[in-house]
């Protein structure tokens, strides 16, 4: 009897391996192998010049050196684009997190008892589901020289001439930040709400009995207890922000207008990839990987402290 049971156990173990096999096979073929090839190619010269294919020739770190070599104007493209990406992310992420935190507190407050929560949540989450490239195209048409925004400005007499929103760094970056904000603040709100509802209610009751007002409760109770989730949210948002592509790509038609001030890291990668310059695209990917890796490590650390506390 005992022997039979053990036998059954062994045969079950086999099923576990069979069930997880497709995942790992697909992961190795479609993710791991391409990642290794990407990194490998970062050390080769491999591009097309017209119809001739140059390489692959081993060039050591030359692709990385050329990435960090200033051009004629003294700008280092990859640093400029990393800066653009982070700046536009921050411009969208600060209002995103502040407003999400406010809304999460409003929605979970037992004193405020906000009505129509289902409706508001549905509305603020909706932009997250919308196709980013279509949303971006919509913004382009609305803010174009002949678009409705300019029509209103003209009709109201707010400006003498048409405002070319796409000729100014501040407005293009502003539009990208606004779109990113609209697409993500609903998502962040819902995550933070779950975080607040996970806090032990007796904490709030205790604060109430001790005579703490709403602001004190927020800064002394809610915020410290919410910190792990807040850190997690911010860092995952930052990793997402580093991958910013669809919105600026479509909005600026891939050029990062004006004067490449809205060009992001992944747009840069995309340029090398569509030009089939696998050496340089590999090198950009490695940089992207290192930056993300550092951020991920921080995420894991914050997650681990979170689970240890729990």
């Amino acid at each position: 009897m005992k022997e039979k049971k053990e036998k059954r156990h062994v045969s079950y173990a086999k099923w576990g391996l069979i069930f997880i096999a497709p995942f790992f096979i697909a992961y190795i073929i479609f993710s791991l192998a391409p990642q290794i090839i990407t990194i490998y190619n970062a050390f080769f010269e491999n591009y097309r010049s017209g119809l001739t294919i140059v390489g692959p020739n081993f060039v050591g770190l030359r692709n990385f050196v050329s990435l960090f070599t200033p051009d004629a104007n003294g700008t280092i493209d990859i640093l400029k684009y990393t800066g653009n990406t982070l700046l536009m992310w921050v411009e969208g992420a600060i209002p995103q997190i502040v407003i999400a935190l406010l809304l999460a507190i409003f929605f979970t407050s037992y004193r405020l008892k906000i009505k129509g929560q289902g409706f508001f949540k549905a509305v603020i989450y909706m932009p997250n589901m919308i196709m980013a490239s279509a949303f971006s195209m919509l913004f382009f048409t609305l803010f174009s020289n002949v678009g409705p925004v300019n029509q209103v400005i003209q009709a109201m007499g707010w400006a003498d001439a048409t405002i070319d929103f796409f000729s100014m760094t501040v407005t293009v970056r502003g539009m990208i930040a606004l779109m990113n904000f609209l697409m993500w603040f609903g998502n962040t709100t819902i995550l933070l709400m779950a975080g607040i509802m996970g806090i032990d209610q007796s904490m709030f009751e205790a604060a109430n009995i001790d005579g703490a007002n709403s602001l004190q409760t927020f800064f002394r109770v809610t915020l410290p207890l919410l910190k792990p989730i807040l850190v997690y949210t911010i860092i995952t948002a930052m990793i997402g922000g580093l991958q910013m592509f669809d919105v600026p790509q479509v909005l600026t038609n891939g050029f990062g207008v004006p004067n490449r001030t809205t060009m992001t890291l992944v747009m840069y990668l995309n340029n090398f990839l569509s030009g089939k310059n696998y050496g340089m695209s590999g090198a950009v990917s490695v940089i992207l990987f290192i930056v993300t890796g550092i951020l991920s490590l921080i995420t894991f650390r914050s997650l681990r402290t979170q689970s240890e506390e729990a």
Binding site: I36, V123, I124, A134, L191
Partner: protein, 289 residues
């Protein structure tokens, strides 16, 4: 007693003011979220001439005409694009959801060597951005003639760490080992048990993940734009980007708004019907307890 009632009256008045401010903030955010889509709908009902003429918040009568013009456009074949997108999105959603559930069940229900490692490995790869693999992936596809092959956009979904994580969490909540033991029919094949007994028990989680993976694939632009070069195989986001790069001044703007509307409409319809489940799905997947 007297000061108490005065205090509580004051508190009620304060609360009312706070409540009004909160509703004003919510109203502003609602307008901010919906206004651009409202403009999209209005503008899709207006003719090119009307659109050049000025701004309005009132719909016009050219919706059907714009729809017909957009649908029959010679350079941008939107019905074909929608069909292509739907095919890829549906198949990759099924692949991602089914295999994630299978993987999660494999780790949830069985004990085998390396199980812990497999679990932590999947969690670790969750944070690696997909773009890092893109360069090598595109290179392989071009080298082996796999561009314009939908399988290259569908099969990678089999390894979806985020969907796996959601399924694993869900199983921990609703599928204790006793149920798994009971579900096993003695002598029956474990694979059969998973498909016929376990999968139906996961229906709510499967539905949520089918929606999320479908929407993600429907909206996906980066990799398809690099791999799909034949015009008859292009998906909706690629067509929208093409619209952007076309000579803008020559376009019938009514048609342009209609293209954008058609691109987002399927997802909006699904969202209007299922937003409650979708929003619930956001939290249970990403934040523990």
């Amino acid at each position: 007693m007297n000061t108490n009632t005065v205090n509580s009256k004051k508190a009620i008045a304060q609360l009312t003011i706070v409540r009004i401010i909160v509703y004003i903030i919510l109203a502003i955010l609602t307008i901010l979220c919906l206004f651009s889509f409202y403009m999209l709908i209005i503008n899709s009902t207006r003719s090119n001439g009307e659109l050049q003429g000025g701004f309005t918040l009132i719909p016009s009568t050219h919706f059907i005409q714009n729809l017909v013009n957009a649908w029959n456009d010679s350079s941008i074949n939107i019905p074909r694009g929608m069909l292509n997108s739907f095919l890829i999105a549906a198949l990759s959603a099924i692949c991602a959801t089914y295999f994630s559930a299978l993987t999660a069940y494999g780790i949830h229900a069985y004990n085998f060597r390396g199980k812990k490692f497999a679990y932590w490995f999947i969690l670790a790869i969750m944070v690696i951005p997909s773009q890092v693999a893109a360069s090598g992936f595109v290179q392989i596809c071009y080298k082996f003639g796999l561009t314009n092959n939908y399988l290259m956009l569908i099969l990678p979904g089999i390894a979806s760490p985020v969907v796996f994580f959601y399924m694993k969490q869900y199983m921990e909540a609703v599928l204790p080992m006793e149920i798994v033991e009971a579900a096993r029919v003695d002598g029956s094949n474990e694979f059969f048990t998973f498909n016929r007994v376990i999968l139906p028990m996961l229906k709510p989680a499967l539905a949520v993940q089918l929606i999320f993976t479908f929407v993600a694939s429907w909206n996906n632009y980066f990799l398809p734009s690099l791999l799909l070069t034949k015009s008859e195989l292009k998906t909706v986001p690629i067509m929208i980007a093409q619209l952007r790069s076309a000579d803008y001044s020559k376009f019938d703007m009514g048609k342009v708004y209609m293209f954008i509307l058609l691109a987002i409409l399927p997802v909006v319809i699904v969202y209007l019907i299922l937003n409650r489940n979708i929003i619930k799905g956001v939290t249970s997947g990403s934040v523990k307890g």
